[in-house]
Amino acid sequence: MSLVRFYLSNSREVLGLLGQHVLLVLVSTAIAVAIGVPVGILLTRRPSWRRPVLGLANVFQTIPSLALFGFLIPLPLLGGIGARTAIVALVVYALLPIVRNTYTGIVGIDPAIREAGRGMGMTDGELLRLVELPLAASVILAGIRVATVVGVGTATIAAAIGAGGLGVYIFRGVAVVDDRLILAGALPAALLALAADGLLGLVERRFAWR
């Protein structure tokens, strides 16, 4: 098969792009978790902030990804050409599912369980750490899973602004109208998404109680 031959003869480049791709997704998802989970928790404490914050995250989600990459290029600090800009854009996309699932995961806990925790003398922090986060973990992880899978797909477009990744093959293939090249980028990206989905799904099930 010609695709196999292509990979064998370009193995260094393929692995390099795959590595870049994985790194783009890992870094952006990690940053999105670091921002999104605390924001989601905050929303459960400040219910009046829920609409504006989730609304804003929703609006970000609707910006076409190619346009967002383009918008970011001229910005100082966040923008420019390369991986940094791509990561900023990927974080923006990953935020909504993570914030939303953190919020709904915690709010969805039976109020009686929360009250039992408080009745035993937990402080707000202890309640969060020992009751709310563990019980919401599977829902939060589901949000992270969605963000990761979407991130793997969106990261292919990052090649357009010079951030590398498997999208490089796709753009190159589109430019020279070569199906095999497009497939060389798209196929591993799809497999990567499936692998991330399966792996995180496994972690998620470990945290499902009852």
């Binding site: 009686a112 039992a116 925790g117 408080r118 009745g119 003398g121 563990p134």
Partner: protein, 249 residues
């Protein structure tokens, strides 16, 4: 006998005012004391303010008026979480944390209090034995792997973990089948004598009240309309008391 719990003129109205349920008075001018070794049963229909009264004692709800004194200290003067760690709290059914094992559930308050793991473990096993659960068999199970009766035993063990002088029990046996219920009531009766705690026990079951209560308080429309021994309760002419006695007959 010293009073472990003193409740004076307790009142509570739903927050807000005016329309609908807001501002509705749920508890009004409730006063009683409970001494060590004594169980006060709070009896009443649904919505009569029994559960609200319990929650006002451990400040899950903030009293709108009156005073609560626990072990000689005004409850309002202590941080709510500190107050609650000194009060055992047993509730119906959902009280156990579903993601923790029996051992973790029972050892929770000691853990919050920063006990050493060995000491927690020892205490948990002692308590499980006390409530009739073989530690080796049950310590590692999760709540959903227990029967309703076993869950309530764990709930009682957990409330006793740091040996608080006061226990609040909110219909602890309410969700059990009649046979398990009778069994737990008998055992609980035995525990009462051994533990010497002050207890407030909420129920709507008159027989349970007679069996477990040193004294009975009857609530109606947020007020304590009767307070006395089971004997006095039987002789009372208060219409709500008569209604309860007739329903149980």
């Amino acid at each position: 006998m010293t009073d472990v719990l003193e409740v004076r003129g307790l009142g509570y109205a739903l927050p807000g005012r005016g329309k609908g349920e807001e501002g509705r008075v749920l508890v009004e001018d409730v006063s009683f004391t409970v001494a060590a070794g004594e169980t006060l049963v709070l009896l009443g229909r649904s919505g009569s303010g029994k559960t609200t009264t319990l929650k006002l004692i451990n400040r899950l709800l903030e009293p709108g008026g009156g005073e609560v004194v626990v072990a000689g200290r005004s409850a309002a003067a202590v941080a709510p979480h500190r107050l609650r760690r000194g009060i055992g709290y047993v509730i119906q059914d959902v009280g156990l944390l579903p993601h923790m094992t029996v051992e973790q559930n029972v050892g929770l308050v000691p853990r919050l209090e920063g006990w050493a793991p060995d000491r927690i473990r020892e205490r948990v096993h002692e308590l499980l034995a006390l409530v009739g659960l073989a530690p080796g068999q049950f310590a590692g199970r999760r709540p959903h792997e227990l029967s309703g009766g076993q869950r309530q035993r764990v709930g009682v063990a957990r409330a006793l973990a740091v040996d608080p002088p006061l226990l609040l029990l909110d219909e602890p046996f309410g969700a059990l089948d009649p046979i398990t219920r009778a069994e737990l009531q008998r055992e609980f009766k035995g525990l009462e004598g051994r533990l010497g705690k002050a207890m407030v026990f909420v129920t709507h079951d008159v027989r349970e009240g007679f069996q477990l209560g040193t004294r009975i308080g009857l609530m109606q429309g947020g007020r304590l309309v009767f307070l006395g021994t089971a004997e006095e309760f039987r002789r009372s002419t208060h219409p709500e008391v008569r209604a309860f006695l007739e329903a149980a007959a």
